[in-house]
């Protein structure tokens, strides 16, 4: 068995559907992605053996979006604002503690 390359690998649904359709991109996903990527880097968490924040196509959970998933934990989050992103980074990615209130 190979070793995990990242401690946490986060995928954001950044699929763009038609305007008005249920879609993470129409609900602030890209700004949240940009913010999380920057924050993870600023905190010194980015890189091999640590955290990777990734773009992804449609994660097929449009109805509960915007969503991200944190692997290998397979924890799915939804989020409203950038404070939610702060909390996921500080609680889950830095201290391994799931943010229960943001679970899908």
């Amino acid at each position: 068995m190979t070793q995990s390359h990242f401690q946490y690998h986060v995928f954001f649904c950044l699929n763009q559907r038609e305007p008005g359709e249920d879609c993470c991109m129409n609900k602030g996903a890209e700004a949240a992605f940009d913010y999380m990527k920057k924050k993870v880097k600023q905190q010194g968490l980015a890189g091999a053996g640590k955290v990777r924040v990734n773009r992804a196509g449609c994660l097929d959970r449009c109805e509960v979006g915007p969503v991200m998933v944190v692997y290998p934990d397979a924890v799915w989050y939804t989020f409203v604002d950038l404070e939610d992103i702060d909390e996921i980074v500080e609680s889950h990615l830095q201290h391994g503690k799931v943010v229960e209130r943001l679970l899908v």
Copy 2:
């Protein structure tokens, strides 16, 4: 803790860099992605509780690409041809057996 939404969640690096640069997209990643997605569907493996095959941005492993990662196992594969994709689907996704020869 939330439940895993997919038994296996596969991400393909489909990031496009400049022509000539080391990049999964310049090494057949998109054809392999299309093929795997179709194959997983044909085998009845696609869907919630089962398998999801996803596009992703750069997975930051360009030097060993093309790559995919299978979560929650955190198993990284590289591949050369569509027979490799067949083997990953049949061995890993259908029978839970890692394909050692294709590990990154």
